[in-house]
């Protein structure tokens, strides 16, 4: 089992769009795949038209095992399942505090799913919290989408610092650029300088209004508009990532 987190301290950088599309691609090549929506706003659940069961909550999520298992839902796509987020997930951070080893909680809770899913994706909320720390331990790869701006790079550096200070494995972190606009000088310069560097993936995802329309399609872009520029970029990004995993 490989676990991939889409994570960033910053909001609105394309975590959810990337999680949904990459997970869809994974379900085609490495079936079956699971998406865990960890954001109380439930954006990825929304994209798949899935609402959690009425009795599902952050407490159940923390109990793990059967509680998680029974709340996984099949999407409209073969071999792609989702554990929806409930609004109560906004309390996860506080609730995690009560746990004995909050950092290890998520890793432990998904162990059961090991045999069933070769790939699990986490769609994370922005911010750096206890939940994020739990995600860091549970993930094999931490994919960080960045809009090519100096500010984004700064937060990326902050994440690194945090990892080092807390003796976490920095080699898990991989950045990649999203919403790239060629006509912007700053975007061009940053992408040229960074993509392909040790901590970054080569492939960038261009700014593409089709991504915004995912809210209307309510489906992965790669499923409904596979020839759109962003879908092609995600396809190539996934191939690049797979090439590194093998």
């Amino acid at each position: 089992m490989k676990t991939i987190a889409l994570y960033s301290i910053k909001g609105g950088v394309g975590k959810t769009a990337s999680a949904v599309n990459l997970a869809y691609l994974s379900s085609l090549t490495q079936p079956p795949t699971l998406v865990c929506d960890l954001d109380p706003q439930g954006a990825s659940s929304f994209y798949f038209r899935i609402v959690p069961n009425k009795k599902y909550s952050s407490r159940k999520f923390l109990k793990g095992d059967k509680k998680i298992y029974n709340n996984i839902k099949g999407t409209d796509f073969d071999n792609l399942d989702l554990l929806p987020a409930d609004f109560s997930y906004r309390n996860l951070d506080i609730e995690l505090l009560e746990e004995k080893k909050p950092q290890k909680k998520l890793k432990k809770n998904i162990e059961e799913l090991n045999t069933e899913y070769p790939f699990i994706f986490f769609d994370c909320p922005p911010n750096l919290t206890l939940l994020s720390e739990s995600v860091f331990t549970a993930s094999d790869i931490i994919l960080v989408p960045l809009i090519p701006t100096t500010l984004s790079l700064r937060t990326f550096e902050q994440l690194f610092e945090f990892f080092k200070e807390n003796k976490l494995d920095t080699s898990k972190i991989r950045g990649f650029f999203t919403m790239f606009e060629r006509r912007k000088v700053m975007h061009r310069e940053i992408v040229e300088e960074y993509s392909g560097k040790k901590r970054f993936l080569n492939r960038t995802v261009p700014y593409n209004s089709e991504v915004e329309k995912m809210g209307i399609y309510r489906a992965p872009l790669n499923a409904v508009r596979p020839n759109s520029p962003a879908a092609i970029a995600y396809q190539e990004l996934w191939e690049e990532l797979m090439g590194e995993i093998d």
Binding site: N70, N71, K73, G74, D81
Partner: protein
């Protein structure tokens, strides 16, 4: 509540339809109909129905090869498969996991297309208020020669996490005026097979014949020979089609069994008939010897190659090409023989001999009226004693001739145990056969390896002494050496294996068999 992922099956009557909406307490659904489609289901299985016997349905449709659990209708594998072959081998499937699943069902047999059934499908997606698919409904009609008997099945496919919704939809279907009843995937598949006139599981290379211990041996022998004749007939028309090697193999085994019964039950058939048929079946068997040998080499091509260092493998290719050509020629000749008048008459005559009343004149057939169980016990006892006696006489070095001879003794014993299986307690018999099998495997491996070496040596001595042939000869030489070492290993294991067979525990098992029938 745990969500079961088994699809649900219902049978319905002809006018079945679904509304666009329905409300259930607390949930409301909409049904979205998709256009009616024709869909052909291609049913595959091995000739001996290995899939069916292990509850695996192999169905090709929508350009996908599907392995479905016969008991619950769950898809075990579904992989893209873009041809509709008359038959295929597991290796022809690109997906590794699927190929190995099929290979585990049958190592040597091909999967044959037993029939292609054209069905008509209407499907609906069932959506909740968020337009999320919570289940899909499929109405499939399976044709029948009689329009009135056309069968209609509804399949509800579950979506993970929507068990409650699935049950609600199922509940709604049950209220439907066209609802007939709950059914299963097994029934569905049986209906598909019936529509194609396919009878599953209608072949066994070792038909079980229920003998009555108190019947005369003549009567029992005829029954055994008739069922063995059935195996001959079942296979003969398939041999020329080169689908897999097992048709010829089973055919040959049936001939050998026939010969074995004739040889061991001498005084129960009229002597002149006996010698006529013994001779005829011996000749028939002989006609297939080369074919079988070639089959074995071709099956082992990969193993043979692997025995050689990588650099020498390629020079072996001409050997296999040559073998392939010879095999084709030989098969053509034998296929012609199978449709010849001579063969037809022999089979016809044999069948009528077995089906008609026979002389029970004690002067001609003195043993014909003996009790089946008595003959069973005495002949097995004799054959077993013979194996023990000959086995113990085998020298320390265990010569080729000694091992060859013992192998034949064991085969005879094995056939007898199989013939009379129905008069002995099944559990003891199974253990006895198990013991014997181990010994037979050792001897079988030994003889096979010997035959292979002889064949290669023969081949080598007929090879022209030219420069081009040098690497080829070297490869064959290398192969002979490798096979020689393997065989000597097997020879070394013989005494240990035989001692395992020749011990008080096995003896007790045999005596257990006999006691029950005394």
């Amino acid at each position: 509540m745990n969500t079961s992922l088994d699809p649900l099956f219902f049978s319905v009557s002809d006018t079945f339809d679904l509304p666009t909406h329905f409300k259930h307490p607390g949930i409301s659904f909409s049904f979205h109909a998709e256009p009616v489609k024709k869909e052909t289901l291609h049913c595959y299985d091995t000739f001996d129905w290995k899939g069916w016997n292990k509850n695996n349905t192999i169905l090709l449709y929508r350009r996908r090869l599907n392995i479905i659990d016969l008991k619950n209708g769950r898809e075990i594998f579904s992989v893209s498969f873009r041809k509709i072959p008359q038959s295929f081998f597991p290796n022809d499937v690109d997906n590794k996991a699927t190929a190995s699943k099929l290979f585990n069902l049958s190592k040597l047999r091909a999967f044959i297309c037993y029939g292609s059934i054209e069905t008509e499908v209407r499907s609906w997606k069932v959506l909740d208020e968020n337009q999320k698919t919570i289940t899909s409904v499929e109405l499939r009609s399976i044709p029948s020669s009689n329009e009135a008997q056309k069968k209609l099945f509804v399949k509800l496919s579950p979506v993970r996490g929507y068990g409650k919704e699935l049950q609600a939809v199922a509940g709604e279907l049950k209220k439907h005026p066209e609802y007939v009843g709950k059914t299963t995937f097994t029934d569905f598949y049986k209906a598909v097979l019936a529509a194609g006139g396919i009878v599953p599981d209608n072949y066994s290379s070792k038909p079980f014949v229920k003998l009555k211990p108190s019947n005369t041996i003549q009567d029992s022998a005829r029954k055994l020979l008739l069922s063995t004749f059935g195996v001959i007939q079942a296979n003969e028309q398939w041999i020329p089609k080169t689908i897999d090697t097992e048709f010829l193999h089973d055919y040959r085994v049936a001939i050998r069994r026939t010969r074995s019964i004739l040889a061991q039950l001498k005084r129960i058939f009229p002597p002149e008939k006996l010698s006529r048929y013994s001779q005829a079946f011996r000749e028939l068997g002989k006609r297939t010897n080369n074919l079988r040998d070639q089959d074995v080499y071709l099956l082992q091509a990969e193993r043979f190659r692997a025995l050689l260092p990588v650099t020498m493998r390629e020079s072996l290719d001409p050997f296999f090409t040559d073998l392939g050509n010879r095999h084709k020629k030989e098969l053509r000749a034998f296929s012609r023989y199978l449709v010849s008048e001579k063969y037809r008459l022999l089979m016809q005559e044999w069948k009528s001999f077995l089906s008609n009343d026979m002389s029970s004149d004690p002067a001609i057939t003195p043993d014909a009226r003996k009790k089946t169980s008595d003959v069973a016990v005495s002949s097995i006892q004799k054959a077993w004693k013979k194996v023990i006696r000959h086995g113990r006489e085998i020298s320390r070095i265990a010569t080729d001739t000694e091992l060859h001879a013992l192998r034949i003794d064991c085969k005879k014993l094995r056939y007898l145990l199989e013939f009379y299986a129905s008069v002995f307690p099944a559990n003891i018999l199974r253990m006895v056969v198990c013991q014997l099998k181990e010994l037979q495997e050792n001897l079988g491996a030994f003889v096979d390896l010997s035959v292979q070496q002889d064949y290669l040596n023969d081949y080598l001595s007929n090879l022209q002494c030219t420069a081009e042939n040098t690497p080829f000869a070297a490869s064959i030489g290398g192969l002979v050496t490798a096979l020689y070492h393997e065989r000597e290993q097997v020879r070394m294991n013989f005494h240990k294996t035989f001692d395992k067979f020749d011990r008080p525990e096995t003896e007790a098992l045999f005596n257990g068999l006999f006691k029950k029938n005394r």
